[in-house]
Structure formats: C-alpha cells, structure tokens
Subunit: 351 residues, 2 copies
Amino acid sequence: MESNTPIRRKITLSDIAAGCGVSRATVSLVLRGSPLVNRKTRARVEEELRRQGYVYNRMAANLRRRTSSGIALVLNELANPFFAEFAAGVDEVVGEAGFVTLLGCTNESPAREQAVLGSLIEHGPAGIILSPAEHSDASQVLAAVGAQTPLLLFNRELGGSLPEFAHWDRLTLDNQHGTRLATEHLIARGHRRIAFFGGHRDSSSCRQRHAGYAEAMQAAGLPIEPHWQVECAPTRLAAAAQTPALFAAAPAPTAAVCYNDAVALGLVLGLNQRGLHPGRDFALTGFDDIAEAQLSAPPLTTLAAAPRARGRQAAELLLQRLREPQAEPRHTIVPVQLVIRESSCAPSDRS
Amino acid sequence: MESNTPIRRKITLSDIAAGCGVSRATVSLVLRGSPLVNRKTRARVEEELRRQGYVYNRMAANLRRRTSSGIALVLNELANPFFAEFAAGVDEVVGEAGFVTLLGCTNESPAREQAVLGSLIEHGPAGIILSPAEHSDASQVLAAVGAQTPLLLFNRELGGSLPEFAHWDRLTLDNQHGTRLATEHLIARGHRRIAFFGGHRDSSSCRQRHAGYAEAMQAAGLPIEPHWQVECAPTRLAAAAQTPALFAAAPAPTAAVCYNDAVALGLVLGLNQRGLHPGRDFALTGFDDIAEAQLSAPPLTTLAAAPRARGRQAAELLLQRLREPQAEPRHTIVPVQLVIRESSCAPSDRS
DNA sequence: CTCCAGATTTGGATCGTTCTAAATCAGGCA
DNA sequence: TGCCTGATTTAGAACGATCCAAATCTGGAG
C-alpha cells in the first residue's frame, strides 16, 4: 500500500534556524517566548515556524531539562464517578498549564500502585497526584517515586510513617466537620437517636467522619448506643445487608449518618426491604454528593465535595509546589457543604 | 530547609557500565532483554542495576527512538461513567503492555480537541485513541495529529471526509441494531406510540440509534409523530428540561427509546415532575448500561456496551496496529446487549 | 572617533539512551 | 598454528532541544 503524502523528515529547530538565518538557540528562545529576542527577529522566526509546519519535540526538551512536562495522576479507582470527575478537573488545569496528564489506575491494589508508580516515574513527571490505594504504605510509595519528585496526596492518608524528608503536600476533605454538620442537621430536625452507619473504622476517612458524628452527639448531650455504630464495606450491597444490625436491639435509631453516598443508597435499599420508607419513617444522610444522590428516591441529603473543583485544586496545589519547591509542605483541608434534600426528614410517628 | 537525604546524581547507563566493566551498549541490551548478551554478563549487569538502584530514563530513550512509550487517550467527556470505565479499561491494557496513558479531555469542544491533540502530539505518542467531540472534523484532526501516528477512532464518526491516506482504525458500537432491539422489545410489550428521546441528530451515534428505532417502528407498521422525536444534549439536566416536549401534542407516547442512559435518567426526573411514574405509567429504555442504570428507580432497561471491555479492546486494537503498521485499516463494530429491567413496563391504563 | 552599557545573538557542550557497523572472542577444524 | 564462524561486545555518532558563557551589535556619551 502506497501513501500518497511524501514522508517528509521531521522539521527540527535547525531547519527553522537555517530557514531564516538565525541560530538554533534563538529559535529556541522564540519558542519559549523569551523576552530576550528582538521583535523583528521573533516575527521572522514565527513566520518560518508556520511556513515549515514545525511541531515542537517535547521528548528532546524533556531529556535536556531532566524532567518531562507530564503530571502523573494515580488513582485508586477511576470507575467511581467521584474520581472520574476529579480526574477531569485535574486534566483541565494540567492542560491549561501546558502539561499533560499521565494516567495510572491502581484498582485499590497496593501492588499495582507500586507497578504504576514505577512505570510513571520512568517518564520523569514534573509532579505526581496520588490518591492512594487502601493499605498503601508511605515507605513503599517513597521507594517507588524517590524523594525528588513533588507529590500531592489526595483524599486518604498513607499507612506507615512518612520519612520526614519527604515533604509531601496533602489535600483532604474536612470529613469530621462534614459529618458534624450532618448530625447537627438531623438533631435540629428533632432526632435524638442517631446512628453512624458504614465504612471501615481502620480507614482514616471513616475515623474522621465518625469523630464528627460523635462530637455533635456529645455536644447535644445525646447518648450513643453501641448497636448504632455499624461497620461495613463502603458499597451499596454491604450496606443493604448490614441494615438489620441497626434494629437488632432497642432503642432503634430514627436516623443515620452514613459513611458515604454509596452506603446511604444501600441503606435506602435495606430500609425498603424492612418496609420502612426512607425520607419519611427514617432519616439519613450521605457523603460525597455523587450524581446519583440527587436522583435517588428519596433524594439524598449529603455533603458535597465538588470533585471536579477538588481536581482543579489538586492540580493547582501541585503546580504551586513546582513553582516553589522549597516551601513548607501544605496540608489543605477543604470544607464540604451540607446539601439538604428529602432524605433527612423529621422523625415520624412510625419511627 | 535542609533535606537529610543526599541528593545523589541520577544513576545512568554509564554508571552501571563502569560499575561492572562493560560498555553502555551492553547494559542497554540487557535492559531491553536482548538475547544477544551472554547469560553470565546479563546476570552481572542485572546485579549492578539493583545494587545502584538504577531507574530507566524513558525520556532519553524516547528521544532516540523518535516515539515515546505513551498512548494518548483523548475523550470527549470523562465525567460520564461510560467513558470513565472505558478509560480504566484502556489504561489497564496500555499499562500491561509497558506503555503509559496520556490523558486528554475535550469536553465536547472541537476547539479544545485541537488544542489537546496538538499538545499530546508534541510528546510523540506511539498511538492515539480518540473519542471525538461532537462536530469534530476529520481534516482538522488529521492536521493536528499528522499522518504518521496511528489513531483509533472510538464511538463516533468524524465529520467531513477522511483523506484516503489516513488509514485510521475504528471501533464503534452497533448503535442501530441496539435501538432496534430496544424498540422491538417495547413493541412486544404492547406499546404502539413510542418516542425517540434525546441526543443531537448531527452526531453519528445519535443518527444510527435513531435509525434503529425508525427501522423497528417501520417494520412493525407503526407511525412516528414528529413531536415524538425530541433532541437535546445528552445530559440528565437537558433531558429533564426537554421532557414536556414529548407531551406537547396529542397523541402522547406511552414509551420512549432514549439516546443513552444519562438522557433516560433525566427523562425519569422529568416524568416524576409531571406526576408520571416511570416504569408504571410510562416505559423507557436507555443505552450504555452505566452503573446507575440498575440502581435507579425504576431500574433501567438498557443496552449494555461493557465500557471497560471496550476500553481494553480499543487498546488492544491499537497495540495490534503498532505491531503491523501496514495492515489494512479495520472497522470493528461491537454488538450490544439488551438488558431488560423494570423501566420497560407494559402500557398502563393511565398512559 | 572611541568606549561602554545594554540588548541580542550564538557556538558548542550536554541530557541519557539507542543504533550501526565494526571489533573482539571462543572454539572447531584443517 | 592459522583460519573461519558464530556469538558477544563495543566505540561513537545520532536523537533535537536547552543551557551557558562568550561574542556581537546598537546607539549615545565623552
């Protein structure tokens, strides 16, 4: 099969330089928008760039500059809409800044995380945004990425202790304050017997969310029964299955603060199976405000984390760090917003 | 702030070569697993690589080989769970093959697509997987990526005509057959007045899906009223807002084949707002089988496209192409499966 | 004129691999 | 021993931009 376009050799800086009688160095300066070059020269060079159809070869530049113009984005789970939105936000800002996003997906496996980080680091990314897999360990991550590449931790804490010379930035949600708001909201609606439902207590985010709940209950002088604190995997299925545990003993709760939206949606299922009408007989709140939250029946009162905005923010924090490599490590805790919908009804006669 | 780890110069091939008394070339061969090197030598070099903690510098390799080990993945929309799953599938296979995914997100804007492609191409990706933005034009895309880099088109056709020398592979869903199945299913359930709802008619996938619907209606001898064909952006919000258009004139439809799941979920909202009970008073089907489809109220009858599998498939097709650059361009059409759930009820008295 | 400062421009080395062609080595055979 | 063959190894030139220090240019002051 013959191609009918001439396979012309790639145009390089030298071609442009030769084409308009200046040196490679000058062309390079023009390309990078340096103020050093004369107006007249710049115009001439730019014209020649257009004329020859030059395309910049970032691979060459990367080699010389010893760092690529890529930002590695390593996620524990891309299929989750929360992280998909997050990724979209990251990519927006990364792209605007002239970088490119190197994607890696670990599927919650620390082993895969090691492999992915190892592979990405070979490309010399300018920085890394990492949402760790469950049970991912700080020293392992450090071993994989080295101490030179700036890294921003998103969403979760790492297990193990962080060697003090790896000054990583962090961006996490204000989990504790969020569930505190949710709990206070339920209390304000008139609930007195409120459960905390779902999640695994050995995950940092679950501990924080539980703390916010406990704090609000305590502040209101409300007791917490042991069987109101039910752990389960943060999935719909597990949550539905664990629902009976809430009602295993008297007094039964009239409301529940759930670990996240997935758990809350599972609880909705579980309540329906018991013949309870969530949003009328039983109040509940979620966390994350995933797209389904506003569409479920009943629409879910939840804490909005605005994942796309978080993605943009993560990228901006990392770019900031690239600009000031020596600045103190930052820990940014972003507030979450209580979105009140119909699932957080007042207590009913029935409950 | 002082770091307490020595900032040691990066280890290079030369360091390894020097460290065990062979030439750089030999070490390079070892790294690439060439069969040319002697067992004994290979072992010695590998030991030294470990000892010095060498990390491969792909930027240098990329420059020399004139193509990077990146696969560009350019998506019209990442927030849509369908594409998020697709991306996850692509990344799996790309990673397994030792490549890295370069992500780019166009948000349905051809202008942004140009920018994203332009930026990615500078990194010399080995190949490109592109799910075009709406109204994206073949010649524009060609201008941005050049004729040298293999490209796989996913999901949509490009506008304009494809210059014959750009032999691009394609992977698309069997849209027409899918909606035909859905429509036939609704007809079998007893519906006679069926609408086609959502999407923009100038997108190829929408045209194909509409064709499948029209085909089934015609085959069954059923008429189609003009106001049963409602266009809107393929988002929940737009679909909810356009719902009244379906009922703007008599006779009202009793069922709708929706452009995709997002639209169907929006229609669910819109119907609820009108006091109609989807899955009881009105039947509807979606397309894609995103995760929310089976959890919505009512669970959605839809066409499963298995996006993660499609992602894996897309990556495999592209890798195949890298292995055989001269092979004939392939157009792969993947069948979709009708998943019957509760949204596609029989017509009720009410409707 | 000559000199100087500031504005531009430039040659040449450099980044760390891969590639090519040629060199070297080991062992068998005459 | 000397030659030949196949198996290994290697020197050195790429790849294409960036960096640095030094060269050149300009125009105004003395």
